[in-house]
Amino acid sequence: MKKLFIVTVLISAAAFATAQSIVMTKTGKISFYSRSKVEKVEADNNEVSSILNTQSGDLVFAVLLKSFHFERALMEEHFNENYVESDKFPKSTFKGKVTNLATVNFTKDGAYPITVDGELTIHGVTKKVTSNGSITVKAGKIAAFSKFSIKLKDYNITIPALVGDKISEDIDLTVDCKYEPKS
């Protein structure tokens, strides 16, 4: 009986520990910019889902492309219709790992530079990406930030020659997520 009790306590403690090590958000932010000589195109998405496992370093993101909002309604329509084809590929995902997790101390306030390795899927095409960013711990709250750039060509997104000078081939992405413990 006593043994069983100890086992139960251990199991629940372990379950508690895993629960604690997983943090998530549904209101993460991803923005992208395309700066060309003629036109600046930018869009924000404030409905990014992401989960970070602070023990294993696993990091995942899921983004609905229709939740990107643009300055101009027509840009948004063209983005969904012509470029990312969000009816065919509604979601973009990232699945990766923080490679230098050992240097991050989740119990101590501070900003820790990180490197993330993983697979980014946009427009049905999956590519390996490596990006640098940071994890900030403040009063027990975990936030992640990263800025990197991708090439549209890599994801089979083609810009017609007619608007070639309005849309840059390189897109800068900014990721900004504030995590909460997963309940």
């Binding site: 997983i22 995942v60 899921a62 309604a73 219709e81």
Partner: protein
């Protein structure tokens, strides 16, 4: 990743069908689309003369009627617009409201979109008979339309347009004041930026006055076929139609050309959008 999918399944987001058509007009008449909130849409439309007029009229290109219009999206559901046509020196104004939007996901979904459009048209030609007492209201005609549309796939959209045109005054007692019609239209996308459109309005034998015709004398049903070409902020619509006018009463009920006898007008609409208000909320 699995965990994330489970989370997102719990609260599936409502997904509205977008870009059922490229612009707020199918060819002559309205499509299910509206100008987005805060967007001003300048419409410049031309219909040339009939192509069967031969080389003397340069196959119709020597003549042209035009309509200049401005549409504005008040909200994502409500749009208003005004216009002026050279044909009958008409002024027109309309309001268009999205009643239902095709969607999937969320608590309930809808397979179709429904919009209502009401247009008032003012003919400002000189009075035919200035000797009689003429009323300002005699210049007015109204059109009410329901637009029922479905985007079947990326490439195919169809819509039905039950319509009613009301004339405050008609020239004979045998001519009905109210004319009913059913429109059908659709598009097939040929590429991302090019689509083939067709639109047909069939006048229905509903309001038969004194046993006579339910259409205006000498008129035909309106047929139009054309292409939408999209280039950045512009949509160019090039088409062939037997209708001369570009307002609801003129193309639904006053089309005189016979499409199959070559009474066809070449025409185009150019739509240019200007964003007046930033769509995103200021941070």
């Amino acid at each position: 990743m699995k965990m994330l999918e489970d989370e997102s399944k719990k609260e599936k987001k409502k997904d509205y069908a977008t870009a059922t058509f490229k612009t707020s007009r199918l060819i002559n008449g309205h499509s299910i689309e509206n100008a987005a909130a805060g967007v001003l849409d300048l419409k410049i439309s031309h219909r040339f003369g009939m192509v069967n007029k031969g080389a003397y009229e340069f196959f119709g290109l020597d003549q042209a009627t035009m309509r200049l219009g401005l549409d504005y999206g008040i909200s994502n559901r409500l749009m208003i617009g005004v216009g002026h046509s050279t044909f009958q020196k008409q002024y027109d104004a309309f309001g268009k409201f999205k009643i239902l939007r095709q969607s999937k996901g969320g608590r309930w979904s809808s397979p179709i979109s429904i919009s209502a459009v009401s247009t008032v048209m003012l003919n400002t030609l000189k009075w035919e008979d200035p000797t009689r007492k003429n009323f300002y209201t005699s210049r007015l005609a109204f059109a009410h339309q329901l637009i029922i549309a479905r985007k079947f796939s990326e490439g195919l959209s169809l819509q039905l347009m039950p319509s009613m045109v009301h004339y405050n005054i008609v020239s004979e007692v045998t001519i009905p004041n109210d004319i009913f019609a059913l429109g059908i239209g659709g598009r097939i996308k040929l590429s991302k930026r090019l689509s083939f459109n067709a639109e047909y309005y069939h006048v229905l034998p509903i309001s038969i006055v004194a046993g006579e015709g339910y259409m205006l004398p000498g008129t035909k049903n309106s047929l139009a076929v054309g292409f939408d070409i999209e280039t950045g902020g512009h949509v160019f619509q090039l088409h062939f139609t037997n209708s001369t006018g570009m307002t609801e009463k003129t193309f639904i009920t006053e089309t005189t050309g016979d499409f199959f006898k070559g009474d066809i007008h070449f025409g185009f609409n150019v739509s240019r959008v200007f964003t007046i208000k930033d769509k995103r909320k200021k941070k």
